[in-house]
């Protein structure tokens, strides 16, 4: 080992103290990428996985073949959901810092992903989210009180205190239980979609994964099974550039875009501007129609930027340039949709401020309501003996015995 190492290590563009550099992000002009027929052959649309589908241009106009031509009222709903997601995140981050909840994960800068994608799907479609798509929970109508109660592990918590904060679920609203183990949901969504096909139903499954955890084998199982069985599933890679401190180059993004994994497995891969609400909506709608008409799965890479820390346990100032986010070339999803709505005469600063104030008040009143059901330190608390429930459908004897022992231990 006296010779010099020849091992290649992916380059990280900007560490703390260095100048942010996003020249590695390949951009395409808005409106420039063709939109194939939804039943086109995967092998004929390889370019979609290399180019970047964009609808909103720099002047706030919606251009090109991917423009979904949504009603202004739908765009306003999208803006509202994204803003609510951000305000909810901001407040929950503060509540974690104040010691009211143990942990939190924000979706700052990625709100278009969960919101636009959930809006482009039907309520009967099944979602298998990761932990940063709270926007989809909000679109599906999960109340803030319910979301907050999960964070608080209180008496209204849908998980009965068993899961870390942000690991929500809603059976009634077709949102699967989020796992703290990465990537596991990706092939499960494929299985759900295979079952829909077996049962002859036209619902589809959509799932999300970070580009970092696309390194896990589960990601590759998902693509393989989806391709083999042409399952009605939308596989979304949220490429927010960072997985805690791991730069996307270490997940395999240096040599080839994540979307290009799709064509490798024989399915379309679409690389989309993840901060462009219209583009995200359009590609999701395209993939949904493709899946529903029996033309198979689609892999979507949402190119975005993790504006905040990985979680409240993380400090990105240790590993990436401090002003990185300000140099991100695809801007902010809320600002961009807002600018577009103003440009087409369907929005104004005044209306935006009024909506912002209204949503702030909603978040505040929801918090007041949620803490009535208890916090980690005050108010009503779930009975600890409930921890023995749901390990199995029927409680076995050893757990019944342990439940009695715990009651004794607690006096």
């Amino acid at each position: 080992m006296t010779k010099k190492s020849r091992l290649h290590l992916p380059r990280v563009p900007a560490r703390p103290g260095e100048t942010p550099d996003f020249s590695y992000v390949q951009l395409s002009p808005a409106g420039s990428v063709p939109r194939p027929q939804v039943n086109a052959r995967a092998r004929d649309m390889g370019a979609l996985s290399v180019e970047l589908v964009r609808v909103l241009d720099d002047s706030g106009d919606a251009v090109g073949p991917w423009n979904p031509h949504l009603e202004a009222s739908d765009l306003q709903v999208g803006l509202r959901h994204m803003l609510l997601t951000r305000l909810y995140d901001d407040r929950m981050q503060r509540m974690q810092r104040a010691g009211k909840i143990s942990f939190y994960i924000r979706s700052l800068g990625e709100e278009a992903v969960g919101v636009a994608q959930a809006m482009a799907l039907r309520p009967s479609d099944m979602l298998f989210p990761a932990y940063r798509q709270q926007g989809a929970q909000i679109v599906r109508g999960i109340s803030l009180v319910d979301l907050m109660s999960q964070l608080l592990s209180n008496t209204k918590d849908m998980c009965k205190g068993r899961q870390l904060p942000v690991m929500y679920h809603s059976r009634a609203n077709n949102i699967f239980s989020i796992s703290g183990n990465l990537a596991t949901q990706f092939p499960q969504a494929v299985g759900w979609a295979m079952a829909a096909a077996i049962k002859g139903e036209d619902n589809l499954a959509a799932t999300w994964i970070g580009e970092g955890s696309s390194a896990e084998a589960d990601f590759h199982y998902a693509l393989l099974f989806a391709s083999v069985y042409q399952a009605p599933v939308i596989l979304n890679v949220v490429n927010n550039q960072w997985a805690i401190s791991t730069f996307q180059g270490y997940a395999g993004g240096e040599q080839r875009a994540f979307a290009a994994r799709g064509p490798g497995y024989g399915m379309p891969g679409i690389r989309v501007d993840g901060n462009d609400f219209l583009a995200v909506y359009a590609v999701t709608q395209w993939a949904a129609e493709r899946a529903r008409t029996g033309a198979g799965p689609t892999l979507i890479e949402l190119v975005t930027y993790r504006g905040a820390a990985h979680s409240t346990s993380d400090d990105p100032a240790r590993y990436r340039a401090k002003d990185d986010a300000e140099h991100w070339p695809l801007g902010d999803p809320i600002q961009r949709l807002k600018a577009h709505l103003i440009k087409i005469g369907e929005w104004s600063e005044e209306r935006h401020q009024a909506m912002s104030a209204e949503l702030e008040a909603l978040v505040a009143s929801s918090w007041k309501e949620a803490i009535k059901f208890g916090t980690m330190t005050e108010g009503p608390r779930l009975n600890p003996s409930t921890m023995f429930e749901d390990v199995f459908k029927d409680m076995p004897q050893n757990l019944q015995r342990q439940q009695a022992l715990l009651r004794k231990e607690l006096g």
Binding site: M1, S5, L7, L9, V12, R15, S102, F103, S153, D157, C159, K160, G161, R162, Q163, L164, P165, M167, S179, G180, N181, L182, A183, G212, S213, A215, E216, A217, D218, A243, I244, S245, T246, Y250, A251, G252, S313, D314, R318, Y319, M376, R381, L382, P384, M387, F388, V391, N398, L399, Q402, L405, L406, K408, E409, L410
Partner: protein, 338 residues
């Protein structure tokens, strides 16, 4: 000697081994530039370069498998799995491959891989950041399994593990990283600087695998334990004024049967304690061995203290954790006259 917490002691072990042996490489998620989510590898990439302290993709199966390949090609990889709860994507590579390469090749190939991984609860980690899966690994022939309870042992055991020509899974009770913990979350945290085992030799030294530590000698009852529960057992026995002999196993495979058996033959009473789930836990193995070796010396049924047979619930961390109350109940039961 210097004051070190467990993180600093582990860091020192890896620092020394990187310095002594050019074959040693570190690999894992967030371990390089960032220094690891618990800071165990802080500064080591800067000191030894990114070719020896290697950031990995988020793929535990890939980490274990490439560590095996590296080790077969002459390196001595120390892989970090960020939480023991995340080790399962690498399980097949550990069980079917790492454990058996020496055996299936009749000794022609071997894989000196050390897998470090934080385990246990106590940091509000919920069911995916709190597990103690050591029994899954002690059940596999061909893997050594280590779990230190203090900084001094952690450093010496890690150096021994890295130098060992067999694979080692090295569990680090994360609640002990910053200080000893007696099981009472309401007491202010105590730093390692207040504890004799927080005094750590700055140089190279080894603590052998398969040699238990009698943390406290006693005459009335033997408490056989490891990891966080060493401190809980000490506190519970002291609170009950019982003259307990407390044995910290330090390594589960190889297991120091001799020390256990000598102790139980002396005291005639025994408690085994671990944080992991009770059913099929490592305590069951300990109990069997003691029954086999010490049956005629026992004056009371052996008691078992463990976590409940449920996943680790976020909201009920301390009701799940086998704290002093559970150890005291076991002491009471085992000390009752027959």
């Amino acid at each position: 000697m210097a004051n070190m917490n467990m993180i600093q002691a582990l860091n020192s072990a890896m620092d020394i081994m990187l310095g002594r042996d050019p074959a040693v490489v570190l690999m894992g998620e967030d371990i390089g530039y960032f220094g690891g989510v618990f800071r165990a590898t802080e500064g080591l990439q800067r000191k030894y370069g990114e070719h020896r302290v290697i950031d990995s993709p988020i793929a535990e199966g890939g980490i274990v498998a490439t560590a095996i390949g590296m080790s077969v090609n002459g390196l001595r990889p120390v892989a970090e799995i960020q939480f023991a709860d995340y080790i399962y994507p690498g399980f097949d590579q550990i069980v079917s491959e790492l454990a058996r390469i020496r055996y299936r090749s009749a000794g022609d190939f071997f894989a000196p891989v050390t897998i470090r991984t934080p385990c246990g609860g106590g940091i509000r980690g919920g069911q995916t950041h709190s597990q103690s899966p050591e029994a899954l690994f002690t059940h596999i022939s061909g893997i050594k399994v280590v779990m230190p309870s203090n900084p001094y042992d952690a450093k010496g055991l890690l150096i021994t593990s890295i130098e060992d020509d067999d694979p080692v899974v090295f569990f680090e009770p994360k609640r002990l990283y910053n200080g000893p913990f007696d099981g009472d979350p309401n007491k202010p945290a105590v730093p390692w600087s207040t504890h004799p085992k927080g005094q750590v030799d700055e140089g190279y030294y080894k603590v052998p695998l398969g040699k238990a530590d009698i943390v406290r000698a006693g005459a009335d009852v033997s408490i056989i334990t490891y990891g966080t529960m060493v401190h809980v057992a000490l506190a519970a026995a002291a609170a009950m004024n019982v003259d307990a002999e407390i044995i910290d196993l330090r390594s589960l495979v190889p297991l120091d049967v001799e020390t256990m058996v000598a102790s139980v033959k002396k005291t005639g009473r025994c408690i085994v304690a671990h944080e992991a789930t009770r059913f099929s836990g490592f305590g069951g193995e300990l109990l069997s061995i003691i029954q086999e070796e010490c049956f005629w010396s026992l004056e009371a049924p052996i008691q078992r203290v463990a976590g409940w047979d449920t996943p680790y619930p976020h909201a009920f961390e301390w009701e799940y954790f086998p704290g002093q109350a559970r150890v005291k109940a076991a002491l009471q039961a085992v000390m009752e006259p027959a």
